[in-house]
């Protein structure tokens, strides 16, 4: 429950001129960084971290939080305008946001992303304010078995992403899973690296995203006489952005469902925002009425992805504050920012520093409002990128792709990984293989293996896992998620009901 005395103290700390300026600056910086392909949230935060050391404890941590929040939304800008996710968690925004931009609806798509991000962020922060401790307690109930089931749930999306060609989707997914096994296992076994040190940590995430999304798209555009559907006649419009915002934050069912998914996945260490957006997108596609239009510019697809993206931030804060666990790289940077000021996050952190926690939480509400205003203005102006002729834009994108890949890990060899994946991706795209399935396979396959091995170590018999209630619930959700559309379709057909379920 809320400790009102601490809340009051926390709010008092927050409302100073310096704090407000830092929040505005942090959100703006985050949006710009997030919009740059390859420039992830933790990278944006790391750039400012050394400068935050000399700020006061609350100001420094709030600044980091503002950057994190801004970059979560910023990633959607390049995902929509260029088809290249600015941050990994914007991957699902590409599915419908980019087709919308191609149809000349970039303003509306950006507005949708902003409205949905605002909603997700608010709900995530509300959860953080009221149920931070229970969320933390819930998170530690997720053991290897539950995490494995969550990942299986994610892998079941491979079929959803196959756009009607299930066989190709499965082949692509399995190919991705195989690529995901590259690297050194926890048991010290080196697999599939061909002796290359750069592959010892597996296929790097950013090189995967840029290599399999950006490069094939760039090559396709070059091969398509530079016709991307973009136009010099495109006009940025604040009115259209605002119209998108309205829809983005009033798609109630989608907003609430995706927020809950985002918060719940956000609290799981290692799962992260990217996974949350994919699951939310999948659930929206299953629940949505006009399923054929998903992946072709359905606004609700953008809403689902972006709501979950920003809501997951609330979840990741909850586990950081309640348990002291940095669930991902961005929260690890936040963790560092806390350490700088002698706040050592851990299970007793919240009780010892309640007012400080409230300062951080309330700052997220304020930053969300700042994001709404700045996001509308900045994204509208950034939409002008669509007016740049492709002969200029494409070389720039190649440069961004290279720099973004290198900036992520600062390992030169990862550039080669990106280039090779790009060439493979382009070829597979020509053959109509869904590249997203490969990406999911690479990212989730490795995680699935880790948790599966751990599950085998803990349980002597595979059937023992069914004695865990949470596992059973997740198992049931996955099974229902996979088979319910087919069952409903069969039922409707049997009863001659004319409802579009494919």
């Amino acid at each position: 429950m809320i400790d009102f005395a601490s809340l009051y103290q926390g709010i008092q700390t927050l409302f100073t001129g310096e704090m407000f300026l830092m929040m505005v600056f942090g959100v703006a910086f985050g949006i710009i960084c997030g919009a740059i392909p390859g420039f992830s949230s933790p990278m944006a935060m790391i750039v400012l971290l050394p400068y935050s050391y000399n700020l006061g404890p609350a100001v420094g941590v709030v600044l980091m939080g503002a950057v994190f929040l801004g970059s979560c939304f910023g990633g959607s800008i390049s995902a929509i305008l260029l088809g290249i996710p600015g941050t990994p968690q914007a991957i699902a925004t590409v599915f419908d946001g980019y087709p919308m931009a191609k149809e000349g609806k970039a303003n509306e798509a950006l507005g949708l992303a902003l409205g949905a991000s605002t909603f997700g962020s608010f709900l995530g922060t509300i959860a953080l304010l009221f149920i931070m401790k229970p969320l933390g307690d819930f998170a530690i109930k997720f053991g290897a078995t539950e995490m494995f089931m969550v990942i299986v749930m994610g892998l079941s999306i491979l079929g959803t992403l196959s756009s009607g060609n299930l066989i190709r989707g499965i082949i692509a997914g399995v190919f991705g899973i195989l690529l995901g096994t590259i690297g050194v296992t926890m048991q010290g076994v080196v697999r599939g690296t061909f002796g290359l040190v750069v592959l010892m940590d597996g296929i790097p995430q950013m090189a995967t995203l840029i290599g399999l999304i950006a490069i094939p798209e760039i090559l396709s555009l070059m091969n398509n006489n530079m016709n991307a559907g973009t136009s010099a006649s495109f006009r940025p419009s604040l009115r259209k952005v605002c119209a998108g915002i309205r829809i983005g934050c009033t798609s109630w069912l989608n907003n609430i469902r995706s927020s809950l998914i985002g918060i719940l996945i956000g609290i799981l260490p290692g799962a992260g925002g990217m996974f949350a957006t994919i699951v939310a997108y999948d659930q929206e596609k299953k629940a949505g009425k006009d399923k054929k239009t998903y992946g072709k510019g359905n606004p609700q697809g953008v809403v689902a992805a972006e709501t979950a993206n920003n809501a997951s931030q609330g979840g990741s804060y909850a586990i950081l504050m309640a348990l002291g666990i940095p669930g991902g790289s961005a929260t690890a940077v936040l963790y560092g920012a806390l350490l700088v000021h002698n706040y050592v996050p851990g299970p007793t952190f919240v009780n010892s520093h309640m007012d400080f926690c409230y300062t951080v939480i309330i700052s997220l509400f304020v930053c969300t409002l700042i994001m709404l205003v700045l996001g509308a203005l900045m994204s509208m102006n950034m939409a002008s990128v669509l007016r740049i002729p492709l002969k200029i834009l494409l070389p720039l994108l190649v440069v961004f792709a290279i720099i973004g890949t290198y900036a992520d890990t600062k390992v030169f060899g990862h550039l080669w990984v990106m280039v090779i994946l790009g060439i493979i991706g382009y070829y597979l795209k020509l053959k109509d293989f869904p590249l997203m399935s490969i990406i999911l396979g690479i990212i989730l396959g490795g995680m699935a293996e880790t948790y599966y091995v751990r599950m085998l170590q803990i349980f002597t018999s595979p059937l023992e896992v069914f004695s865990r209630p949470l596992f059973l619930v997740l198992f049931a959700i996955t099974i229902i998620g996979i088979f319910s559309p087919k069952v409903i379709e069969w039922y409707k057909k049997k009863n001659n009901l004319d409802i579009d379920i494919k």
């Binding site: 050394p50 700088v340 002698n342 299970p347 900036a407």
Partner: protein
Amino acid sequence: MKKLVALLLSCTMMIILTACNEKQPTSSSSAASPAGTVTSAPSGSSVEKWPTDTVEILSTYKEGGSLDIMLRALAPCLQEELGVPVIVTAMPGGNTIVATEEYFNNREADGNTIYATLEPAISYMNIMLGNEHTYNEFDWINVQEIDYVSILVPENSPFQTLEELLAYTKEHPGELSYGSMTMTSSSGPAFKLLIEQLGLDVKEVTYESGAVLRPAVLGGEVDVAGVGAYADWMYFGAEGGVRCLGYFSNNKLDGVWPDAVPLNDVTVPNYGVEFPELGDQRLLGVSKEFKEKYPERWEILYDAYQRAITSDAMKEYYSSAPSLLQNNTPEESLDLIKSYDSVLSEYKYLFE
């Protein structure tokens, strides 16, 4: 509009280049020289002005683990002393080989990158993976922490003492699960040795880092876990949901886990088995080439580091476990690493 687009593109390019570039000129930038805290180079015309660029601490482990936490606490203090931004880059993977190769092959030996790792990772790289880089190729700034492997149980565990736990484990083969980290952390070989020497039959569960293992024991996924006694105390505290029953140290640890006992206090009288002291050495170093090429920079770096770890901020950070912070000379550090390497070499079959 074209101007605006050009401006935006220029801004983004600048940000990207800032992120990629570890050489941020700071001489004319107040932002890069935080709060006017430039105190690094002693006065005197003969002394080189260094550093002028960002100093990076390249960590071989992922974010959130004990090494990462130590480095993130150190970074601002070192930044204060060096007068330039100090950043921590976590480059996990390949059982620390990725970062090690990156350090030697792609980072200039100019002192702008400091290497941070754990021993036993260096031994593991050499013994098991055949990596050519050994501890002799470094000048070690300090073994900053030595953290003996802990034996933790959840708060609601029925085991109140280490004696009870070990007796129960012996009497009930295959029932309890023992969680440890990979072999590049002391927790891995320590628990393997414990299980082997006492003939325990347990479910061995491996975790990639303490950041994952700690919540696992807190949530009861494993019955017993081994991380690091001091770091566990700093993380959990006395009422953080777990209890430490013992540790792989021969002596009682000052100020932490008052009810825990050295492992040998239980195993020697009850089982006639004596264990070596096992615990992660968290250390920072630079390549030998750097010290040879830039002896003055080494002095600046070493002095700044000394001031950093004796600063009030570091004392405050270590206030709950002061004995964790070590201040060893480079020679002492090398001796500590060598000595631990020889212990691990004796049990190298555990790695296999």
